[in-house]
Amino acid sequence: MARKMPETPLLDQLEGGPWPSFVTGLKRLAQDEGKPYADYVKSLLGQLEQSYRERKGFWKGGTVGVFGYGAGVIPRFSEIAGEWPESSEFHTLRIMPPAGMHYDTATLRKFCDVWEQYGSGLIALHGQSGDIMFQGCKTENVQKAWDEFNAMGFDMGGAGAGVRTSISCVGAARCEQSCFDEAKAMRMCVNSALDDMHRPSLPYKFKFKFSGCANDCSNATQRADMAVLGTWRDDMQVNQDEVKKKVAELGRKEFINQVIRMCPSQALSLNDDDTLDVDNKSCVRCMHCINVCTKALKPGKDRGVTVLLGGKRTLKIGDLLGTVVVPFMKLENDEDYQKLVELGQNIIDFFAENALEHERIGEMIERIGLVNFLEGVGLDLDPNMIRHPRTNPYIRTDGWNEEVEKWNARHGGGAAAAE
């Protein structure tokens, strides 16, 4: 017997206004009479209305999964299934999209068809970590839906204490600022860690994110355990004629205010002939002037990536930003990309062995100290990893000479620098 549409006076208020309404969408689904999901969504609307009324959530977790995987499904069981039995199970399947979230319509239509058959008809594009979230599935249908998606060539995303789904910015696909192949790097790193994603057994979650430049369109710096950001080592590319045009366009005063004055490192000065004098040694590769002068300025040609570790949200010790552990790594040929993959694996291995339960890598590094971490994973210490040296004398320096030797060894010959 078909359930009738629940009263949703509060939710109804979210149908007005110009922005696309999820309520209208849910109602459309609820009213697709005859569709397998219609009553399911009616029931969901009923529970959601109750949440709005009582200002309270009614979902609890549980254990639901697919054969062969230990994660990727977020199980939700209703605490008020008595009132809303049809939607008592409302699980989410996290599916990884193509890197950069590019789609053809055939694929999206197929997703809709599968979700029409096995799910609620509600799809979130995308989750904050980058998954396609197929939201609303009964336990009995989870495996069926998954089989279809998997057959289409899509794989399950991350959840729990394992490697998580990743994001790479649009980058090389449609951005002149891109300093490496974000999609390639992302796919190689994540796809080499699938076991830790699908059968999670790390101390805690581990997220990769990839941005083609310091603009960090994937929010890697704070939202990734391992952030890979594009940069360059040589001089930026300058087209002085275009600079002059930009000066003319903005006017001298505003060009000074918006470009020269805003450079965080005082690396820019304006010549009297309205050309730009770039001090590339002072430039910190922040992208600002390049952003303002998209035609006149470009990153240099000797490109690669910087790797930061430890970004995360606030739990336990407060928010953490990633901090630099590899200032520069060339990413040109396949070996270069392979090195990045190995770096990721070493870091995950060290994390797996040394982190405490529910400890993110940033918390771990905070606990054991950057220097010990670097020694542990075999990375060379570099002054680009710090904002400034210590300001306090609270350190026992009787190993000074040995440390000086290490540095000189590395900087005497390029030999050590190579590895």
């Binding site: 979130a124 904050q128 310091a214």
Partner: protein, 356 residues
């Protein structure tokens, strides 16, 4: 039978087969871009190829009809290709400029606002809330919808000094991340403990370990092993709730909304920065959260009127100073704004740099 089918561990799909041909052909070879109008990006490749991207907003939590509608549009204008941004906006790529206006007309007609580019207020990063999460203090979809309704013009135009990245989060865990403006739940009372349930449901040592201020200790309540909270210490963060649902932190009255500003992920100009508390104690006023919307608008208009081109929210405030920010927005400055967490001293003004 399917149950036993081994998964094909295929990983992240290669985007190339899905990518619009002009992007695929010029992959890694783009020369420059500009924005002919709000909502439209114009990228030019070294090859001379050009692509116009028309960007539109979505509700993120889409029903299949909406997704199919987007597909219809992509089939009609974009050879069946489209992409989504990290903020759940949808991007349609076209290779001839004269397709732009019809495409925009069609999108608007179908109810998808065109905008979100450049110095606009883009779509709010969106979390789960009451729709799906197991620990939310508020909803996400409803908060986003309500706010985007009031920020509709700001989405469609590029009148801000720089991009504005807003985030919402339905609990203090803050899956929405840092933002120029962040709207997060802020609980104001310690969890009420359902002692009968603790014993069977919670792995107590794990819960104790989650508390940032060590306010939780094991206890016995009428014979049952449970937990108790030192209310003097408790900072009402809710971290104990996910691992132990009987630690009921959510409260229709006392779970408030706080607004934070100046978060920034980019290393552009200034270093990345966390958002900073500016308003707390706002009511969790479903279904429309008018008090939240009002405060967000107030902050945005002060930013819009006073910031200089390219200044992100936090950079603007750094220049004009916090005293002036509170003056311009009319927001009160209280003891709660002064950081008393570990290392809080570094947030004090240790200089003669003053704003008058």
């Amino acid at each position: 039978m399917t149950e036993l089918r081994r998964p094909d561990e295929c990983g992240v799909p290669d985007p190339m087969p899905f990518m619009h041909p002009v992007l695929r052909n010029n992959y890694g070879k783009w020369a420059w871009h500009d924005r002919p109008r709000p909502g439209v990006l114009h990228h030019v490749a070294e090859s001379g190829d050009e692509v116009w991207t028309v960007k539109a907003g979505t509700q993120r939590q889409m029903d299949i009809h909406t997704v199919r509608k987007l597909c219809d549009i992509a089939d009609a204008f974009c050879d069946g290709h489209l992409r989504f941004t990290v903020r759940s906006n949808v991007e349609f790529m076209v290779t001839s400029a004269d397709k732009i206006d019809p495409l925009i007309k069609r999108l608007e007609a179908e109810g998808f606002p065109v905008g979100g580019t450049g110095n606009s207020v883009s779509m709010i990063s969106h979390t789960q809330g009451w729709l799906h999460c197991d620990i939310p203090g508020t909803d996400a979809s409803g908060v986003v919808k309500s706010l985007m309704d009031t920020l509709y013009e700001e989405f469609k135009n590029e009148d801000m000094p720089n991009r504005v990245k807003i985030t919402t989060s339905c609990c203090e865990i803050n899956c929405g991340g840092q933002g120029d403006i962040a709207i997060n739940v802020q609980h104001t009372k310690p969890p009420r403990i359902n002692h009968d349930l603790v014993a069977n449901m919670c792995e107590r040592p794990a819960v104790v370990a989650r508390c940032p201020v060590a306010a939780i200790r094991p206890a016995l309540v009428n014979g049952k092993a449970t937990l108790e909270v030192d209310e003097k210490k408790c900072v009402c963060c809710g971290a104990c709730f996910p691992p132990c649902p009987p630690m009921q932190i959510n409260d229709p009255e006392h779970s408030k909304i706080a607004i934070w500003v100046g978060g920034k992920h980019s290393s552009t100009r200034s270093r990345p920065a966390f958002h900073k508390l500016v308003v707390a104690g706002l009511p969790n006023n479903a279904p429309r959260w008018p008090e939240v919307a009002e405060h967000v608008r107030m902050i945005l208009s002060a930013y819009k009127e006073n910031a200089r081109p390219w200044e992100r929210m936090g950079e603007w405030i750094d220049r004009i100073g916090w005293p002036r920010f509170f003056e311009l927005t009319g927001l009160p400055f209280t003891k709660y704004h002064v950081d008393n967490w570990r290392g809080g001293r570094s947030s004090l003004n240790a200089s003669a740099h003053l704003h008058f």
